[in-house]
Assembly symmetry: C2
Homo-oligomer: 78 residues x 2
DNA sequence: TATAATTGCACTTATATAAGTGCAAAACGT
DNA sequence: ACGTTTTGCACTTATATAAGTGCAATTATA
């Protein structure tokens, strides 16, 4: 079961992706070029918080979107 | 299946935990006080890379261990 | 060295999960 | 308004996963 926090993360990813003018298809393609098998379907789910995202994936996305930790990660609640 | 990167992450977690003189039991107890159900068993597995760690968990651990992103997260390879 | 504390691991089982697919809906551009 | 692109979602199924348990092994402490 997915958490609120991951939904927030998904929203940030989407926001940053769109800010760069990338479609889900395009970003997922770039991920796959980096040996990360996030398909368009998977990315869609991640963005709406319906699929877990793993550390590798998260940090690769951070790199591809070229953002700092602080920009990508909402503060952990509490 | 678990990745090399998550093994690295586990090692960092262990290192930082021990540096603070905490046992797996103690750290897992603190996690649970923060509504994170990582048992001793789960933490043991995370540290040796036999269980996935999710963003919530990762960032909570970061907070409990009181470290920066850079201290906790090895650079994503590549 | 004896005792206690801590951690690793193998095993099992119920459950969660990811992935794919196809289509509907929404957004976009002309 | 129309066609096109993009995204959401429901559904299915095979697979991965987490959790627990108990004990062995390792490490610490007296």
């Amino acid at each position: 079961m997915n958490t609120e926090y991951e939904k927030l993360l998904g929203q940030r990813i989407r926001f940053l992706r769109e800010a760069r003018g990338l479609t889900q298809e395009q970003l997922s393609a770039r991920l796959q070029l980096n040996n990360c098998d996030i398909t368009r379907s998977a990315l869609a789910k991640i963005e709406v918080g319906q699929r877990h995202i793993y550390p590798d994936e998260l940090f690769l996305i951070r790199r591809l979107l070229d953002v700092s930790f602080d920009e990508l990660f909402p503060d952990y609640p509490g």
